[in-house]
Symmetry: D3
Subunit: 67 residues, 6 copies
């Protein structure tokens, strides 16, 4: 009965990609730890790039520079 929370920046993940991610994580918990998929819960949080920092810098700025 694992609970998985995945936080990603909000940069256009599609419903199909998110469904694939949820299915993949659930299967991975079954194959690596023998966890029951029926009670495995996965929650994805999509976070605005203004609200995510790495290296002390906001992702919005990192993305601008990368262009």
């Amino acid at each position: 009965m694992p609970y998985v929370n995945i936080k990603i920046t909000n940069e256009g993940a599609t419903a199909e990609q998110k469904a694939e991610l949820i299915q993949g994580v659930t299967e991975l918990l079954q194959t690596t730890l023998n966890k029951n998929p029926a009670t495995t819960v996965v929650v994805i949080d999509e976070v605005e790039t203004d609200n995510w920092g790495i290296g002390g810098e906001v992702v919005t700025e990192i993305r601008k520079r990368a262009k």
Copy 2:
């Protein structure tokens, strides 16, 4: 001084229902564990059904099938 995070799917909970939930959880922590309600914090996250999976399946799909 407990901190409670409640994650639910975003399917139309009203402000009144959420207020009732916050009040109820705060009282429950007082009656079961003698926690001080004044410093009990409750945060509710409402998550899109595309971003919530159970049993390896996205809730959006589960809801469609249930109709």
Copy 3:
């Protein structure tokens, strides 16, 4: 299918008290929001008082002063 995370300081909650809390929160989500108890997950984290701060002060110190 709600997910609830309750963080409390590690100050002697018994297994019975925690069971009562888990049962109570699950019932509360059913009565206030009509959530299915079968898939409601509750996880309690007990945090050392050295690792919890409020008002800029560590709980260990607050507890010492209160004696």
Copy 4:
């Protein structure tokens, strides 16, 4: 490689203020615990006042009363 999650009520924090917060927390982890800023991640969640409770009461109501 710390991970920091900051939850605040959604009451008008600007991108500049959030950038300052991310930079400040990252520096603080370096000065207090010698953590490498390059792999320090900070995520800010802005929560609607209807979804945040303290003292058993919703922040929306607390703000109304404070006016």
Copy 5:
């Protein structure tokens, strides 16, 4: 730069299993969402069965009944 938090009950996962899980989730985020593995962070929390509830019941009790 995703952040993934996996909560499982503390029931004997080995270091090898956890390493396999961390590697698998990181690869999955790369294949499904093209996320950079270098900055993908995965944190596993192992929670005592007394502190995990599903269906309003503590896992410790569910495990006893299953024997």
Copy 6:
């Protein structure tokens, strides 16, 4: 009334360092966002290096190689 959760690897942070971190984060939220320190909550989680991964690799292994 912010809530801050700081996750670090469990590698010997002292009570004094954690107290300094809690005080620093609380002050930072006051100076950057004018948040009331009295209701600012900070919780530090210290995670075993076996349970933390970055770049698809467990921190225990990264630390061994760095010696």
